[in-house]
């Protein structure tokens, strides 16, 4: 509320109050009262005053009725009221005493909350006057609405309302000081003359008197006519005229009646007069009568948030869902107090300005038809803005949320919203999301609500948005494939996996990793087309991190066993990182199989080292830096290369594990693999997996190589399976290196020369590393690549075979890539 806002309006020349609805922009209290429906849209000052007075009268009546003094006999009671009923110990609920005791209990609860209200602004909120007012208002409201009762948080909704009224009153007193003469009725308090009849009233003397006063104050204010004043000041004056309509009761900005006004505002906010969003609903613990979902309203509203988030930021949404962060954990507080605990008071007032200025009428009748499910929260503009605001807050924290690994850390970040924020941006974003929210609510869902809030399923089914081929209009409307398509792919993929591999533990896990890493690699913000890809990648990135953690833990266990004699491994690791850096510099994530394989080998070596856990963070980062340079590449190549790189990453992950710790591995392998399998079979709620796979397949489809796609899926399967390479990396590495050379060689010239060059470089580097690894392994194991040794391991034989098939497939992939 500042003068600047008002100065924007052209001063109206008429004496009547300005007709624009933002006329009272500077007076938040009045503006909010208008928005909340207590005051009518400003038509005339008189009308405003009358409505104000009415509402105040109602409150005063309520107060008298409900705040009961048991000592005072009831109105019209006889001198000897029925004492059997009306004594203090009476169990009769109707007696004034029991009413009194009930009030006392309520008051105790309210007091508890009030003492903890806004400690940072205690200069205002903890004054006895203010506390007394708050207490009374809350008590009366709860007595008036016994079905809601008092819930913690209501006081936080009320406090800012009272505060804005207080601010208005202060503004009034400022204005009063400046324009004092406007407020004073010149006849009041003027000393009576002996012959002080009106007729003989000595006007001259009066004007002298006034001039004296003005002179003594010595500032620039002049006695000017009311109508020459600024409209805002004019409005304030007229609103505060003690002789206007309804007299003192009608003074709209009045300190005496702050309690009344605050009560009216609070009531309107809680009941949501004739609107869709009623705050009282959020405090209810049982489902509303006409609720479609049968859930308490606040749970439903939180789900609406997630629904909107899934449309807007699906990667973040899936990440949160995966971690098990239910929306109501944080949204409960956000919604119940309308973000009161997340922002400082001044910011909050700005936000509430926006929220209240939105219309609250329900947009369409909530139909009971089970086909059409819509969220009550999103059923009005105001509700949609609230939801949009919440989602924009979540998105604001996007990067830090995606980086978290556990639900508790996620919640910590969500519940501790940062202090210094760009509020304007947040609000703008919320406004843009609001439109989306309103639209989304109209679309019909086929899936039932409830259960796990896997809202991604629902929007996907309802929005059969075409695949990546259609470039998204804005980042907001990115959507993955239709649900069924993805499901098919997932199932198909799983099937292939089963065919190709024998004991599908790690392969699947590895494969997923591959995807993760791959997509994590190409995090290129500037490319609009891969935007969708990015989203998938980001999902996987986060999941990959989880996987990395899991595996690192597993390997950590194995670490001790492996410590012996793995010194060269550390060399390898250096090599690896060097190599990767080199790759990064070459901007070469146009990897060919060579690159992938090479890295894979390095990876395996590195894992062997003591720094097992540290290894895992490495792969993400070097690919990351590689990616950053990658921006100029075409999306095709980036994705394709990522694909291959991922595969190889998978390989490398798996190989060390399997090769080194046969005994300890199987149990550990089981854990990621069933996880993966579950996901790949599309049963679990993780749609990320589906998207990953679908995304991959998408790409291949896009290139019009459906057959190749199948092949690649085969390869994938094989690759995953190759995740169980035998101990004999040495053997494989030779095979790999040969394959690598083979694949590296036939680089078609149809590709960009840059890419060719980089591919070649990579290939060479890979080869070098493969050879180094070989030698290392041979030293390590002390067994010179003899199959006999391998046969000691259960899966060796099979592993080798599978490894070789995997390699072949990888080769095919690389050929494919090279053709592009």
């Amino acid at each position: 509320m500042s003068k600047e806002i008002l100065k924007e309006e052209a001063p109206s020349s008429s004496g009547v109050a300005p007709a624009e609805s933002r006329a009272f922009a500077g007076l938040r209290g009045v503006q909010w009262r208008i928005n909340l429906g207590i005051l009518p849209p400003p038509s005339s000052i008189d009308h405003l005053r009358r409505v104000t007075a009415d509402s105040r009268r109602r409150y005063a009546g309520l107060r008298r009725r409900l705040l009961v003094d048991p000592h005072v006999p009831k109105d019209g009671a006889s001198n000897s009221p029925d004492l059997v009923m009306d004594n203090p110990l009476s169990q009769n609920p109707d007696s004034t005493w029991s009413q009194f005791f009930r009030n006392a209990e309520l008051e105790k609860m309210v007091n508890q909350d009030l003492s903890r209200l806004y400690p940072e602004h205690e200069s205002y909120f903890h004054t006895p006057g203010c506390q007394g007012m708050l207490r009374r208002i809350l008590l009366l409201w709860c007595l008036r609405h016994p079905e809601c009762g008092y819930r913690q948080g209501m006081h936080e909704l009320l406090a800012p309302l009272l505060y804005v009224l207080h601010v208005d009153v202060e503004r009034l007193s400022e204005v009063r000081k400046l324009y004092e003469d406007q407020f004073i009725d010149k006849f009041d308090g003027f000393p009576f003359e002996e012959n002080g009849g009106a007729y003989n009233f000595d006007f001259k003397k009066f004007s002298d008197y006034m001039e004296d006063e003005i002179g003594s104050q010595g500032n620039s204010k002049k006695v000017c006519s009311l109508y020459e004043l600024d409209p805002e000041i004019q409005a304030i004056v007229l609103l505060s005229d003690a002789y206007g309509a309804e007299g003192e009761l009608g003074i709209v900005l009045s300190e005496k009646f702050m309690e009344h006004d605050a009560y009216c505002m609070f009531d309107a906010l809680m009941i949501g007069a004739r609107g869709s969003v009623a705050m009282a609903d959020f405090f209810a613990s049982s489902p509303a009568a006409e609720s479609q979902s049968g859930l308490p309203p606040v749970i439903e509203a939180s789900a609406a948030l997630y629904h909107l988030l899934s449309i807007v930021g699906s990667s973040l949404h899936t990440h949160l869902v995966e971690l098990g962060v239910e929306p109501q954990y944080f949204a409960l507080r956000w919604l119940r107090v309308l973000f009161g605990r997340e922002f400082s008071l001044q910011n909050l007032l700005v936000i509430w300005d926006e929220i209240f200025s939105e219309d609250n009428s329900p947009l369409d009748k909530v139909s009971v038809d089970s086909d059409h499910f819509s969220f009550k929260l999103l059923n009005s503009r105001r509700g949609a803005l609230i939801a949009a605001m919440a989602v924009s807050m979540i998105l604001y924290l996007r990067s830090s949320l995606l980086a978290t690994e556990t639900a508790t850390s996620c919640l910590q970040r969500l519940l501790k919203f940062p202090e210094s924020i760009n509020l304007k941006k947040l609000i703008e974003k919320a406004k843009s999301l609001q439109i989306l929210a309103l639209e989304s609510n109209k679309a019909s869902f086929s899936s039932a609500f409830g259960g796990a809030y896997n809202c991604t399923k629902s929007p996907m089914s309802s929005r059969n948005v075409p695949s990546v081929l259609v470039s998204p209009k804005t980042a907001l409307s990115l959507l993955p494939d239709s649900y069924w398509e993805e499901k098919w792919r997932v199932l198909h993929k799983a099937e292939e996996l089963k065919q190709n591999s024998l004991g599908k533990h790690t392969p699947s896990g590895k494969k997923r990793w591959a995807e993760r890493i791959k997509f994590g690699l190409s995090r290129t913000e500037s490319c609009p087309a891969p935007a969708r890809e990015e989203k998938c990648k980001k999902d996987r990135h986060s999941v990959r991190r989880n996987l990395i953690d899991d595996l690192s833990k597993q390997l950590g266990l194995e670490e001790d066993a492996e410590k012996g004699g793995c010194f060269e491994a550390s060399n390898l690791e250096d090599h690896h990182s060097v190599e990767v850096q080199g790759e990064g510099q070459n901007c070469a994530i146009n990897g060919s199989i060579c690159t992938a394989e090479d890295r894979c080998e390095n990876g395996s070596g590195a894992v062997v080292s003591e720094e097992n856990s540290s290894f895992f963070p490495d792969p993400p980062s070097p690919p990351g830096c590689g990616i950053n340079d990658h921006e100029n590449d075409t999306e095709k190549s980036s994705v394709a290369s990522n694909l291959s790189v991922d595969d190889n990453d998978d390989l490398q992950r798996r190989s060390p594990e399997d090769s080194l710790h046969r005994v300890s591995l199987p149990p550990e392998d089981v854990s990621p693999s069933p996880l993966h399998e579950n996901e790949s079979s599309g049963k679990t709620s993780s749609t990320k997996e589906r998207r990953n796979l679908s995304g991959k397949f998408q790409w291949f489809r896009k290139f019009g190589r459906s057959s190749v796609g199948e092949e690649t899926s085969d390869k994938r399967g094989g690759t995953n399976e190759a995740a169980k390479p035998p101990i004999h990396d040495g053997k494989r590495s030779t095979a790999d290196s040969s394959a690598a050379t083979a694949s590296c060689n036939p680089h078609p010239t149809s590709m960009d020369q840059n890419m060719m060059g980089t591919l070649k470089n990579l290939g060479q580097a890979m080869l070098d590393h493969i050879q180094v690894l070989e030698s290392v392994f041979q030293q390590d194991q002390g067994q010179v690549g003899s199959l006999d040794n391998l046969s000691k391991n259960i899966l060796v034989g099979k592993g080798q075979v599978t490894a070789i098939t995997a390699l072949k497939e990888l080769r095919k992939i690389s050929n494919l890539l090279s053709e592009m």
Binding site: L83, V84, P88, L89, Q91, F101
Partner: protein, 191 residues
């Protein structure tokens, strides 16, 4: 708005088994701030029960009490009023107003609560009040015939005290109310 419960002469377990159920249903914890008991409970269990109704419990010794360490008399200040408590068997003749008034002057209290007669009485006397809550269980008394269970609830509010008397007559709870107003904070000096 301080609620003070005054009762006594329960004689549990010797002459009565327990409080009448209708009384018991009315006495719920949380409403009453103080309990003053004239004596003759007689056993510790009764004291424990009263303690559950309100933690602030004051008892004076009656001749049949098994707990010997209760005081003979007690004074306390609640709001603007000074209350005195005594069982009453020490003041002879038993139940005599003038003798009780002597005790009141001796203790220098506004409200004197005594028992022993098992008979409810409430007198305004010399600017003060003398109250006998009777017997809460209606226990037998050698002095009084047809004892009705009764007790007293005082509502002390500033300078005004409202005395509610609860009596069980013919199985029904009857309530009566007496208003006393203290003359503005004058300490009456007996000299």
């Amino acid at each position: 708005m301080v609620l003070v419960l005054a009762l006594g002469d329960l004689h549990i377990p010797h002459r009565a088994a327990d409080l009448p159920p209708k009384f018991k249903s009315m006495l719920v914890p949380g409403k009453i701030q103080h309990i003053i008991c004239t004596g003759n409970l007689c056993i510790k269990e009764v004291q424990d029960y009263l303690k559950t109704l309100c933690p602030d419990l004051h008892i004076t010794r009656g001749e049949y009490d098994e707990e010997t360490r209760y005081p003979e008399t007690k004074t306390l200040t609640i709001g603007q009023f000074k209350l005195g408590l005594c069982h009453g068997h020490q003041v002879i003749p038993w139940g005599d107003l003038d003798s009780l008034a002597m005790l009141q002057r001796q203790l220098d209290v506004d409200i004197l609560v005594t028992g022993h007669t098992h008979q409810f009485t409430a007198y305004k006397h010399e600017g003060g009040v003398v109250i006998n809550p009777g017997s809460a269980t209606g226990a037998y008394s050698s002095m009084t015939y047809d004892v009705n269970p009764s007790f007293v609830l005082m509502d002390i509010d500033g300078l005004r005290v409202v005395v509610y008397v609860y009596e069980l007559i013919d199985g029904e709870v009857k309530v009566d109310k007496i208003d006393f107003k203290k003359t503005a904070a004058t300490t009456h000096s007996a000299h």
